[in-house]
Amino acid sequence: MKPQGRTFETMSWPQRFLVLAVLAWFCLLILGPAAALLRRALAPGLGAFVDALTQPDALESLLLTGKITLIVTICNTIFGIAMALVLVRQRFWGHRLMDAMLDMPFAVSPIIAGLMLVILYGPRSSLGGWLDSIGIPIVYHLPGMILAGLFVTLPLVVRSIVPILEEVGSDQEEVASTLGAGPWVTFCRVTFPTIRWGIAYGAAMVVARCLGEFGALLVVSGNVIGRTQTATLYVHEQVESFEPYGAFAMSTVLAGVSFVLLIGLELLQNHIRRRQFADDKNEISIAGPIKPTRRH
């Protein structure tokens, strides 16, 4: 029962102008560059595109990006859920500070994030040196790159769940406990289903961010070809080495995955809305008018 948008024919001139201006802005910033990349990547034909991606270095870098993305997404989804629950439901000393500091990875440049990790875990630091000596090298190795990925994506899942938890409140969880459910059952059967789309959204953002992360990885990885070179670092290297076609192909893959991810999420959300929230007018008329309920 949302107010229907106007069609272009029924708009006033200023409204038409606004629509056109927004469309132009969108094309200029998003559609144009994306189309340009796609055109250049596919210009030499599909065979050349596949060849460029199956170069050993390219494959190696894609695999590494995949590994980092998988591990970071799993870790930050689990910890993101835990942090969101703690932030919304618990009150403790330092609560507000933690809430404020949580957004630091958004505010700080990824390069600085990488630098912080190098200072703490680098081979010349005491902690890094010790870890190195017992056979767990961090910086310039996979663990450091995972840490960098964890750092830059930390707030994403938390921030996509917190508003849902705040909006829903704790009534449903309290009801579950009066009905005999323990904390774990309550989480699995009440809390998790409530926030699952927030989690999915946050996790998808983590994936997208991991695929595209460059700055922090550049500092932490040392960019060793075939060993610590991720897909974005590969793109960077190809551009620098005046072999841009490999960069075009790889960029198209990375952008494509992110795009598919976004579309998939959009479709999922629509699906769930249709199932849980009545759009169907017939159903509403049988059930009586829907009254918006508000918490005070």
Partner: protein, 384 residues
């Protein structure tokens, strides 16, 4: 400890499945609260509260907002940890029992239905937690759907229901695992007036059939009086008085209860003193000894007459006359300017031919005198 296994309604005088104990109506105390206190920061929400609710009764916790009624209810459910005091449920010490083991049904003001579950799934939740066999769950849910008149809506999601329907589902969900006591926290507070009236009557009927001991939080005096066997009046975290509704109305124990339960005129002692014109037959007003005391008269406990007719009475002037259907509301002023509200039938008003600006005599049939001030100070003339 488990809830009693779900079956059909628990018949009064029947055998409690778990304890094999006879459960007569109004016999044993099902909820016993002793010296309960709870403080939130510097705010004393509950202050040494004790009361006992007999089995099978529907009892209201009535009080203004901030009187601690919801906190007491939540403490009984184990959703709030009291600072001190004990709670007993059906003869069992429950103060330190986790909520999930208390066997209470809880109904929230804002329904708190599980939004990702259908009506049927919502009602079945408590039974599934108890690992009741599937077939039994189905028959019990069907029975409850019938009881709350929601059989046609079993596969709807909460968002597709109206407020009244949602609250009925919430009630069915709370009743499904056969709770030992039912706790309702302002259950009709979020509904509009017409639905609220319907649900009140319906809740009372439901209770008369199921006899589950119920505690009902409300700030609405009429709601408490209409639905409940007994009312506990709370003020500032303390129990002011407990008893059947009519008893509270007729014999209020404090100025607060008098003022909270219905309209009342509050007259300063000085206003009434020395106003008896007829010294030989003074008004039967035993005046309070202390100057802070006040006289409480309900608007319908005042008689109005045009002539003195040799009876004692206070002279007054009609400032305003408002006919309200079969009732008429008079706003009088006494000689010192104090406003007094009177309710009489409209026919009596017409018989006497009362008009605005007329001088009349007014005399109380029933008064209450309290030394301690209630909600309003005695200087306030009138409180609704």
């Amino acid at each position: 400890m488990r809830f009693p296994s779900p079956g059909l309604s628990n018949p009064p005088g029947g055998i409690d499945n778990k304890t094999n104990r006879k459960k007569p109506i109004g016999g044993l105390m099902d909820i016993v609260v002793r010296n309960l206190s709870k403080r939130f920061g510097s705010f004393q929400a509950v202050d040494n509260v004790s009361f006992a609710i007999p089995g099978g009764q529907l009892v209201a916790l009535l009080g203004p907002s901030g009187s601690g009624k919801s906190t007491i209810l939540r403490a009984i459910a184990g959703l709030e940890t009291p600072d001190s005091g004990t709670i007993e449920l059906v003869g069992e010490e429950a103060t330190n029992l986790p909520t999930k083991d208390r066997g209470v049904g809880f109904v929230f003001q804002h329904y708190a239905l599980f939004r990702h579950m259908t009506v049927r799934q919502n009602i079945a939740f408590g039974l599934e937690i108890q690992k009741v066999p599937k077939g039994e769950i189905k028959s019990r849910v069907d029975e409850l759907l019938g009881l709350v008149q929601m059989s046609n809506f079993a596969d709807r999601y909460p968002i597709q229901l109206s407020g009244g329907q949602r609250q009925r589902v919430a009630l069915a969900r709370a009743l499904a695992p056969k709770p030992r006591v039912l706790l309702l926290d302002e259950p009709f507070g979020a509904l509009d007036a017409r639905v609220r009236d319907e649900l009140r009557v319906w809740l009372r009927r439901l209770h008369d059939e199921s006899h589950v001991t119920s505690l009902f939080v409300t700030h609405d005096q009429q709601e408490a009086f209409e639905v409940c066997d007994q009312v506990v009046v709370l003020n500032k975290g303390r129990v002011e008085q407990m008893g059947p509704p009519q008893e509270l109305y007729e014999k209020p124990a404090s100025a607060f209860v008098t003022e909270f339960l219905g309209q009342v005129n509050i007259l300063k002692a000085e206003t009434v003193m020395g106003m008896d014109i007829d010294d030989e037959r003074p008004l039967p007003v035993p005046l309070p000894g202390t100057p802070g005391g006040a006289i409480y008269v309900r608007p319908h406990d005042l008689e109005v007459s045009v002539i003195r007719d040799n009876r004692p009475g206070w002279p007054a002037t009609i400032r305003r006359l408002t006919p309200l259907g079969w009732l008429a509301r008079l706003e009088l002023t006494l000689p010192d300017g104090t406003a007094v509200h009177v309710q009489i039938t409209h026919s009596a008003c017409q018989e006497m031919g009362l008009v605005q600006g007329q001088d009349v005599y007014v005399r109380p049939r029933d008064i209450k005198i309290f030394e301690e001030p209630g909600i309003a100070s005695p200087t306030a003339d009138y409180v609704i």
